[in-house]
């Protein structure tokens, strides 16, 4: 290459989000009472699409094949961080496009989009964190705007309550994470992930280290909405504006897994820790409990949004399988790649499902399964897309949701954890029950109410259509996704 870009240019997806947030603040400070929703939502959309474009360009050009380390090794840009940056940027793009319609009556447009951009900045930094300090800061950078976004409907009691619960559990778990980091630092004397791995082999303070590792695991469990820090998820997803629920349950969850993947493979590699603290066992227990609890709770819900919230907890359990099947041998790359591919596909299908709920709320259809009765007669296209999302979330072979789950489970079997796969498969079968309840209500049941559907909002429709098209196209196009996910996993193990 004739001209060498400076090293920080590798952070282009993150920097794009920062720039978009600052531009939004600028617009908002020039015209605080702006009614120009198109300008604000447009800026945010362009920002996220450019960020996604940068991530895709770097992935295809192979920028991350040789990891870039920046700022005294505290950040690392490799194929894994770029892969996840692409996931977050595409989810953010769909969310802001949908918000154009959903937040139409809201008074604080500029703040809303700026907070989304800032949260996305934190998320794109999380998989690039190579130091526990950056892990903590970027996790908080993603969390703090999210608290405000969940509670942004200031006069809506549900939204405020959701924001409060999310904040309380988030503050508790982030301080537990900080304490865990301080204990790991105490044993290893460094915060850089690769140096922790080498320092720990020499030191002997296994008890303190074990508590530290478990506390760090707890901090990540909050971000991924896994047991034992999942209590906030149903409340926050139900009370928050539906596009924000989509954002949190897809992008924020994937960010938590991304950072957990890196920390646990680089700083706490399995083979070095079998003697000190067998964290894989802890993750296995968490995976089984999270899957089972999420799916059983989802099956008993009356409202669609809350069902999706619990199903999102269940999916956190599936993704935990990727971490729970690490053995320190050659099978790690396959199963980690499976987890990453699943998070990418999940980013599209789950965002789409929550955005359909946003559309239903836009039309004031109601929240329960019965309220959706006969909706397909009024809005066949949106309902077809929702049916697609539901079947993909259940893992039926009508889209990429089947492929990613299949590869994830196959990876777990290949690593010798067939029983994890068995629990996952049973849970998937159960999940088909409550997903098909939505489909049955929409297509088969007779309407119980008169729908007052006056308009077809362009932004929401565009976002749902994009999610549906990508979900389907990734089924024939799963080969490249799988190749990128394998590259990303190879950067870690």
């Amino acid at each position: 290459m004739a001209y060498q870009l400076p090293g920080w240019a590798a952070l282009a997806p993150t920097l794009t989000f920062v720039a978009a947030a600052l531009v939004l603040f600028l617009i908002d400070s020039i015209d605080p009472d702006s009614e120009n929703r198109a300008l604000l939502a447009g800026t945010a959309t362009v920002g996220s699409l450019v960020a996604a474009g940068f991530a895709a360009w770097f992935l295809i050009a192979g920028t991350g094949e040789e990891p870039f380390t920046l700022y005294a090794d505290s950040l690392v840009v490799d194929s894994m961080s770029l892969f996840f940056a692409f996931v977050f940027a595409s989810v953010t793009a769909m969310v802001v496009v949908a918000s154009y319609d959903y937040m139409r009556d809201h008074s604080y447009q500029g703040e809303y989009y700026a907070l989304v951009m800032l949260a996305a900045t934190g998320m794109t930094l999380m998989p690039a964190a190579n130091s526990l300090a950056v892990v903590f800061i970027s996790l908080e950078l993603a969390s703090l705007p999210s608290y405000a976004l969940v509670a942004i409907l200031k006069k809506n009691r549900g939204s405020v309550e959701a924001g409060l619960k999310y904040f309380l559990i988030g503050a508790l778990s982030s301080s537990i994470l900080a304490y865990g980091i301080s204990l790991v630092y105490g044993v290893s004397g460094t915060l850089l992930l690769p140096e922790i791995a080498s320092a720990v082999e020499i030191e002997g303070l296994t008890g303190v280290l074990g508590i530290g590792v478990l506390m760090i695991l707890g901090g990540f469990a909050f971000k991924t909405a896994s047991v034992p820090f999942h209590f906030w998820a149903p409340e926050a997803y139900e009370g928050a504006p539906a596009p924000i629920s989509a954002f949190l349950s897809s992008a924020s969850k994937a960010a938590g897994f991304a950072v957990a993947f890196r920390v646990f493979t680089v700083a706490f590699p399995v083979e070095a820790y079998v003697a000190t603290i067998d964290w894989v066992l802890a993750v296995q227990i968490l995976a089984v409990v999270t899957m089972t609890l999420g799916n059983f709770a989802a099956a008993t819900q009356d409202t669609v949004k809350r069902m999706l919230a619990y199903s999102s907890v269940g999916h956190a359990g599936y993704a935990l399988i990727a971490l729970a099947s690490l053995t320190g041998t050659g099978s790690d790359q396959f199963v980690l790649g499976g987890g990453m591919a699943h998070l990418l596909v999940y980013g599209f299908m789950n965002t789409g499902a929550f955005l359909f709920v946003a559309l239903a709320e836009y039309w004031s259809v109601g929240r329960t399964f019965e309220d959706y009765n006969g909706l397909a007669k009024q809005a066949p296209f949106a309902c077809a897309a929702m049916t697609l999302f539901m079947f993909n979330l259940a893992g039926l072979p009508v889209g990429a949701g089947f492929m990613s789950k299949y590869f994830l489970f196959a990876g777990a079997v290949g690593a010798g954890f067939w029983w994890l796969t068995a629990v996952g498969a049973i849970n998937s079968a159960l999940s088909l029950y409550y997903y098909s309840r939505v489909v049955k209500a929409m297509w088969i049941e007779e309407p119980t109410q008169e729908f007052a559907i006056e308009s077809k909002p362009v932004g929401l429709y565009a976002a749902i259509a994009a999610a549906a098209v990508v979900t389907v196209l990734l089924l024939p196009g799963f080969g490249p996704v799988w190749a990128f996910a394998q590259d990303a996993a190879a950067a870690l193990v």
């Binding site: 903590f136 200031k154 503050a171 301080s175 304490y179 301080s182 105490g186 139900e238």
Partner: protein, 100 residues
């Protein structure tokens, strides 16, 4: 020099007081104060271990933790303010419009 164990004990005690406060208090503001105790327990550890290891990494990180604690309180106070406006109370157990 005070041995490192004493600092660990102190920070563990502060951490436990914070957890106790979170588990027993219903007032959202007291909850925030308890979270501050938890974060400061981590800071005590970081500074003590920083001196123990003879590098400044931990002290620097504790500065970041302090700044983050301040940011977290700013968001938290904002949320508690809207909580008070909607529920006319700062009792965290009163906000139960959604079932568990």
């Amino acid at each position: 020099m005070v041995p490192i164990e004493y600092y660990l004990l102190l920070s563990a005690a502060v951490f436990c007081i914070g957890v106790f406060g979170i588990l027993t208090r219903k007032n959202a503001l007291l909850f925030l104060m308890s979270v501050e105790l938890l974060l400061n327990a981590a800071n005590i550890n970081l500074v003590a271990f920083s001196r123990f290891h003879g590098n400044l990494t931990g002290q620097t990180f504790s500065l970041f933790t302090l700044a983050l604690a301040a940011a977290e309180v700013a968001i938290g106070i904002g949320i508690i303010l809207v909580l008070y406006r909607n529920f006319a109370d700062v009792d965290v157990t009163k906000a139960t419009t959604m079932r568990w």
